[in-house]
Amino acid sequence: MSISTENTTPGQASLPIEPLPGTRRLNTAKAIQEAIGSAMVQDDSVFVMGEDVGSYGGIFSSTTGLLDTFGPDRIIDTPISESAFIGLGIGAAVEGMRPIVELMFVDFFGVCMDQIYNHMAKIHYESGGNVRVPMVLMTAVGGGYSDGAQHSQALWGTFAHLPGMKVVVPSNPYDAKGLMTAAIRSDDPVVYMFHKGVMGLAWMAKNKRSIGAVPEEDYEVPLGRAKVVREGTDVSIVTLSLSVHHSLDVAKQLASEGIGVEVLDLRSLVPLDREAIIATAAKTGRVVVVDEDYQSFGLSGEIAATISEHDPQLLKHFSRVCMPDTPIPYAQELEYAVLPTAARIEAAIRKAVAE
């Protein structure tokens, strides 16, 4: 079995080169703030709206400091009226602005989903291409800190299933900035989902990669390009968001045993980088999907279908380490039994290579 080092090789040759070690390091929250701030300086039509995005700076620090720089006309606190203010964003986008609207937790989508999927996502198509909705809907996802069934969900599969919106999910500061810049500049509606656990918040357990090198200048990470964040030849983990880090931890650990684990960070669900998925599947022949979203009828299935459509005989192993189909429990013992933890990932990989 071959072993590779934790690397930064882009999945696609055309990806921007990451900064060299030694450059400035930011946490993911700051990287997002920086992308938004820079876009706002360059483009008057960009504004931010949502609950507690102003003086509070965003419950998960996505907008910290922006109020001071841009004032309350452009960094706007809202009432708890998600349908109204997300719809307001849509109308403003239709009239040429570039709103960034925060839905505080993705778990709240049920009170405003109509604006999102029947309007934000469909107007461009229904208008026969005549009307654009260049809007970013930014939202926090994920669990692991006992926030219970209504505040811990990933739900990216739900958004990705409904057509007309792009869906991006950064796992680290570099991608977070580049994807946000690309999202703001995109003429399509983009749902930007950041995991609380990758933000590098002072008040939440941090993984070591929630702080990383981030160039000061603007750059885009293109929407729809996955990235091989670690190469390996024995088994592929296809994953995204916080789970990338658990996967890398496991990969590193198993390397010492001679198990070569390739880790693909999807970064976008829509567009989905199917070529990158097929490439890693073809390379290792064994795929483990690690997904904090609910297991059934979601991302993990789409990975299987993508590979099966391409070549139903390609794989020797396919398995999933996902949130099982259960409301997310509160008690830590229970929540960590259902989260895609390093332990579950490791067990799956051992099984994959044993088969």
Binding site: F85, L88, M97
Partner: protein
């Protein structure tokens, strides 16, 4: 609060009154033509998916006073969001009849190249849009108003919906937010007594939605009589208020759904079905203007002829336009390809 907007105080000019009538006649002519075309090839029996115009069809006959009285105040740059029953408002706002008819017929020449259909009209020229989801056209209107104010132009946005929509959450959220931020927006409720088969009394806890304005600290008025001039007067005050930066208003018009909820609706639930047409606002206004000497019978005949010419041109144009290419069904999902 609910009396702050008062009924017609300023007299309308002869030309304005003739324009109101002309607008209503044009709308009715269009709706009648769509009615005819829609039913022309649904048989044998009635199959909703059949014919040159398949799908649900919600026509606005009887509600012309709202559209005409409202849009007389609006500029091309003003925004207007409507509902599943949008034609009267689209026409009064100035949408090209050919674009509208083309979309209804699902043609490539349609406003949305046949992708949208009659409930999903998005016109960047007249800043018109609509939604088939009840009350969900309200929030985007706030966004139009927000963008207009930010742009520093004097435009306003108007959101129109039926009385059924005034019990949906988005109504409440939108009115609060608009009032809070003093957005230049006007909310108009078309109370046609019915939400499909559900009578107003079975859906709404108060007799007048204008009373709900108090919940947001904004003016509210109800026009009881489906009279285009009363609508014109009330909207005039609300428009002035909005353009002056004084914030939103709520106007309810007690109007009339002359036909079924959608075509094919037998209206078994409607008791006074035989006498509904007695409330038709167009003969009433025509008579009023005739009596007042504002128009002659010949004028009216000319208006009708002109409307007919325009409408039939639009319908012909639609019918002669190419249908969309099935190979392009996935075009326009995104601006930037996936």
């Amino acid at each position: 609060m609910t009396t702050e907007i008062t009924e017609a105080t300023t007299a309308l000019s002869t030309e304005q009154r003739r324009d109101l009538l002309r607008q209503m006649i044009l709308i009715r002519t269009f709706e009648e033509a769509i009615l005819r075309e829609y039913h022309a090839d649904k048989g044998p029996g009635f199959d909703i998916g059949k014919g040159l115009i398949p799908g649900e069809m919600h026509l606005a006959a009887g509600q012309e006073p709202v559209a005409a009285g409202l849009c007389a105040h609006l500029e091309t740059g003003d925004g207007l969001t409507a509902t599943h029953r949008p034609h009267h408002l689209a026409i009064a706002k100035g949408m090209k009849l050919r674009s509208l008819a083309g979309e209804i017929f699902g043609r490539e020449s349609g406003l949305g190249r046949g992708r949208g259909g009659h409930m999903h009209l998005f016109d960047p020229v007249t800043h018109f849009s609509c939604s088939g989801i009840i009350a969900e056209g309200f929030p985007p209107a706030l966004g139009q108003a927000f963008a207009f104010r930010r742009a520093g132009n004097n435009n306003i946005a108007v959101a129109v919906a039926g009385e059924g929509a005034a019990n949906a959450g988005a109504f409440h959220e939108s009115l609060n937010l608009a009032a809070l931020w003093k957005l230049p927006v006007i909310f108009i409720i078309e109370d046609n007594d019915w939400g499909i088969s559900v009578a107003r009394s079975a859906s709404t806890s108060v007799a007048s939605n204008a009373d709900r304005a108090a919940a947001y600290g904004i003016p509210g008025v109800r026009i009881e009589n489906n009279d285009v001039e009363a609508v014109h007067a009330a909207v005039g005050q609300a428009v002035a208020r909005a353009r002056a930066g004084d914030g939103p208003s709520l106007i309810e018009v007690h109007t009339l759904r002359l036909w079924g909820h959608f075509e094919g609706d037998a209206q078994g639930y409607r008791l006074n079905l035989d006498t509904v047409s007695e409330g038709d606002p167009i003969p009433a206004y025509r008579g009023k203007l005739l009596d007042a000497g504002v128009v002659t019978a010949a004028d009216i005949a000319a208006m009708e002829a002109e409307a007919s010419t325009q409408v039939e041109d639009a319908i012909e144009h639609a019918k002669n336009s190419p249908t969309p290419n099935p190979a392009e069904a996935l075009k326009y999902v995104f601006v930037e390809g996936v």
